[in-house]
């Protein structure tokens, strides 16, 4: 019967998996079927439910409904340990080695056979590490490979690789892809998650695409299937008139040529994700930043807001170079920060007035008695401008998310904005407030402020921004005027796909070449050359 035939063919079968966080539905009857011996890509734009599905499969989260079968046996894991016993082992972007234990103890903790580990470590070209090395002393990239070698040594039925290559140097990435590619056709399967389309093309047989919590398609990965995957991720886009006309954008770019940029960033690097970002931000414009998760945008905003030191590069405000040692330095230079997570910005137990005046009253020269009449007026004006519904204003935590976000913006508006850094400011906010925030950002720009807006909602670029830069792998890979920045173009750029060239990145191209000559058929070799 068919059920038996599929059970032997499919190594992992997840059906009707749903998960809701309160009113927010993350997964709606999603499904995933992985065949024996295949490398299967799991794809989806930000918020498509990919990470929720990964967590459910790896045992970090329980699904509300649905069934997961591994080799035909039901697996309802409540912990990664249980998922492992059911045959699913996950490797995460952040290595799960215990920092204070040596390598040998780490292997013993997961009951990893040492000989098998050593075999895979050699296969992966792991740099010299000893069993007595404390995990915390092993370089981060090597830790990721140790994690992978450990997972391989456990011989799981399904190996789940979540962004394993995201922070690996090119040579290690190449070895990892090569080893993953060699698993094809064997008795095990791999679920491969990567933002790099080029890697998907190099090692994956099929791809399952999620959009808005649903499985919208399963694609055979062949040359040219990237376009199909991107289309599936986007779905049908409701045609939205761009807020900025091309003529306006053109006029803006002419203006820019004559003026000093409000903010000029050169070769900025920080942490392991941000490598070399450069852009200019002018007074009177809203510049959009688009990136897939973890491409360095968090680090970029942290550096600009003064809460993190950069490791290289230069920041010029009004043409003069500047270094921030503390967020107060950035605020003094006119760079103010609006975070996606309101809890990062607000004093949740305090009232609206105190929250709005916090940045001014935080300056030591204002530490005396508070001039309450002056202050009240400023707060009143800001509350008016932003139309904050402050009826529940005695404690900010009782305001709606949208009103909370307005309070975080209001505190800067009250002080007069020069440069506003907004990191996904409309995350989890209702549509009405979103529109108000869009309008406000445009008003700020019209009044001469410069706004840098990172957003995970691609359609916001055309609604709010004058132009957009796209960051991939810690570097700016594209700059688009708003008129051209429709969702398809942005998503393609965010995956670093270019229309003309099939192979955008030199290092990734090498990886493909290595894999295709080594283990793949002629079709792939041809793609490597093109």
């Amino acid at each position: 019967m068919t059920a038996i035939a599929t059970a032997s063919d499919l190594l992992l079968e997840a059906t009707d998996v749903s998960k809701a966080y309160g009113a927010v539905v993350a997964l709606k009857r999603a499904s995933l079927a992985v065949r024996r011996g295949e490398v299967h890509a799991l794809m989806g734009a930000n918020g498509a439910g990919k990470s929720t599905l990964v967590k459910i499969l790896s045992g970090g989260l329980r699904a509300d409904t649905g069934r997961i079968l591994v080799r035909g046996r039901e697996s309802a894991a409540r912990s990664p340990g249980e998922a492992r016993r059911n045959g699913i082992v996950s490797v995460y972007q952040e290595p799960s080695l215990i920092p204070d234990l040596d390598l040998r103890s780490n292997l013993r903790l997961t009951r990893t056979p040492v000989d098998a580990f050593r075999h895979w470590a050699n296969e992966l070209g792991l740099p010299d590490v000893k069993g007595s090395d404390l995990a915390s002393t092993i370089p981060l990239a090597a830790q990721r490979v140790v994690d992978l070698a450990r997972a391989l040594a456990l011989e799981p039925d399904v190996l789940m690789l979540d962004e394993i290559t995201a922070a690996l140097p090119a040579n290690l990435t190449e070895r990892v892809l090569e080893v993953v590619g060699r698993l094809r056709g064997g008795d095990r399967s791999v679920i491969f998650i990567s933002h790099r389309m080029i890697e998907i093309g190099a090692v994956c047989d099929r791809a399952t695409v999620l959009r808005e919590g649903e499985t919208v398609g399963v694609v055979d990965v062949t040359p040219g299937s990237e376009e199909r995957i991107v289309q599936l991720m986007l779905g049908e886009i409701a045609g939205q008139a761009p807020a900025i006309t091309q003529a306006e954008a053109h006029a803006a770019s002419e203006r820019h040529e004559k003026t000093t940029p409000r903010l000029h960033v050169k070769g900025l690097a920080a942490g392991t994700h941000l490598h070399d970002v450069a852009f200019e931000l002018f007074a009177g414009e809203v510049l959009g930043v688009v990136a897939l998760e973890g491409q360095g945008q968090d680090e970029l905003f942290d550096v600009l807001a003064g809460s993190r030191r950069s490791s290289a590069g230069e920041i010029l405000v009004e043409g003069s170079p500047i270094t921030f040692h503390h967020p107060a330095d950035a605020i003094r230079a006119g760079l103010v920060y609006v975070a996606a997570d309101r809890a990062e910005a607000l004093l949740m137990q305090r009232n609206v007035r105190e929250n709005i005046t916090l940045p001014t009253s935080a300056q030591p020269r204002h530490w005396g008695l508070i001039n309450s009449r002056n202050e009240r007026k400023r707060v009143y004006d800001a509350v008016e401008t932003l139309q904050i519904d402050a009826r529940a204003g005695a404690e900010v935590r009782r305001l709606s998310g949208g009103n909370q976000q307005k309070v975080t913006i209001a505190r800067w508006v009250a002080g007069g904005v020069k440069t506003m850094l907004c990191f996904d400011p409309t995350r989890g906010i209702d549509i009405r407030t979103k529109n108000q925030i869009y309008g406000l950002l445009r008003d700020l720009a019209a009044a001469g402020a410069a706004v840098l807006l990172y957003t995970s909602e691609l359609k916001e670029i055309q609604l709010v921004c004058d132009r957009a830069i796209v960051i991939f792998g810690g570097r700016v890979v594209a700059e688009l005027p708003a008129a051209q920045a429709d969702e398809a173009a942005l998503l393609r750029a965010a995956y670093n796909l270019k229309k003309e060239e099939a192979l955008p990145e030199a290092t990734a191209a090498e990886a493909v070449a290595a894999v295709s000559t080594d283990s793949a058929g002629p079709a792939r070799a041809e793609r490597g050359k093109s």
Partner: protein
């Protein structure tokens, strides 16, 4: 392709590097051992009469606090803290004294076993409440310190005299030579029988893992909740041994908890166990207890106000913590 890759990754260490690594990791403990010896020499120099009997009384004095420190060590390595150790010691001490009162030695042995089991149970209750309620360790164990101390006072409000020769004979007096007190042997046996097997077991690994990085431990397949409960149960066991040590030394049950809880935290910090969890061992805190005790002795011999000894201990603790965070920062920047 595969054949060409050089076999670089080795899991077996070379002998020299492993010795160096062990020394690096245990440098703190080695330093404490040297400090103990120096303090002994110093004590002898200011008081030429300090000898076998001095070491004898040192051993007996440190025994209850050493077990309190072992209890705290287990929990702190697992990333927690236990403020109910002194109360657990008082409770087990009272239960032992009351049940043994006027009984034969046979029953006494049974009582000792029963009290050890009681320690495990009350420790596990602490751990279970922490895991189940998800309330912070410090709050739960603070509350439970009142519960256990209350039970101890419920048994009797005044100290109960219940001397047992066989029990006090276990800790008082020397073995083999007059310089080896029985109390040290008891401590060594406890470490050998409980700590070393624990260290070599997967439970021990899990305790270190949970304290070091709970998320990584969870993802490595460790049951974080179960590990925490077991760590607190072990702390209860050590606290019960500490309570029995009090019975043995004083020959009575005292329902009022002594200052063992905060002293145990001090010993843990001085003993090189990271309060952030995941780092340290049993020997460091035991040596630290001796250091703290010897400082007190020396102050007395020098004729200084004994309160000054307390001040000195505080200053030493601050110095240790500052030193610890400085080396940490240097390691992080290196």
């Amino acid at each position: 392709m595969t054949a060409a890759s050089p076999p670089t990754a080795t899991v077996r260490p070379g002998p020299i590097s492993s010795i160096r690594a062990a020394l690096g990791r245990d440098a703190w403990v080695a330093g404490l051992a040297v400090l103990v010896v120096l303090l002994l020499v110093f004590t002898r120099s200011i008081n030429p009469n300090y000898g076998a009997s001095g070491i004898q009384s040192l051993a007996v004095n440190v025994l209850p606090l050493a077990f309190a420190a072992l209890a705290q060590t287990t929990v702190v390595i697992a990333g927690g803290i236990d403020l109910s150790i002194a109360s657990m010691m008082a409770l087990t001490n009272m239960v032992a004294a009351t049940l043994m009162l006027g009984r034969t030695d046979d029953i006494g042995v049974a009582v000792v076993v029963g009290v050890l089991v009681l320690g495990v149970v009350i420790g596990a209750v602490n751990g279970f409440l922490i895991v189940w309620t998800r309330v912070a360790d410090i709050i739960v164990t603070l509350a439970m310190s009142f519960v256990w101390a209350g039970f101890a006072l419920w048994i009797a409000q005044a100290p109960v005299r219940s001397p047992h020769e066989w029990l006090s004979g276990l800790v008082n007096g020397p073995v083999l030579t007059e310089f080896l007190p029985k109390a040290f042997v008891v401590l060594a046996v406890a470490v050998t029988v409980i700590w070393i097997p624990l260290r070599l077991s997967r439970l021990g690994l899990a305790i270190y893992a949970v304290g070091s990085n709970p998320l990584a431990a969870f993802r490595s397949g460790v049951s974080v909740g179960r590990t925490k409960v077991l760590a607190y149960a072990l702390a209860g066991l050590f606290a019960a041994i500490g309570g029995l040590a009090l019975s043995a030394i004083t020959g009575q049950g005292n329902p009022l908890p002594g200052g063992f809880t905060l002293a145990s935290v001090a010993a843990v910090v001085l003993g090189g166990v990271s309060l952030a969890g995941g780092r340290g061992g049993a020997v460091g805190p035991i040596l630290a207890v001796m250091v703290l005790s010897l400082i007190q002795t020396d102050m007395t011999f020098l004729g200084l106000n004994s309160n000054l000894a307390t001040v000195t201990q505080g200053v030493i603790l601050i110095a240790v913590v500052v030193l610890g965070s400085l080396t940490q920062r240097r390691r992080a920047s290196a």
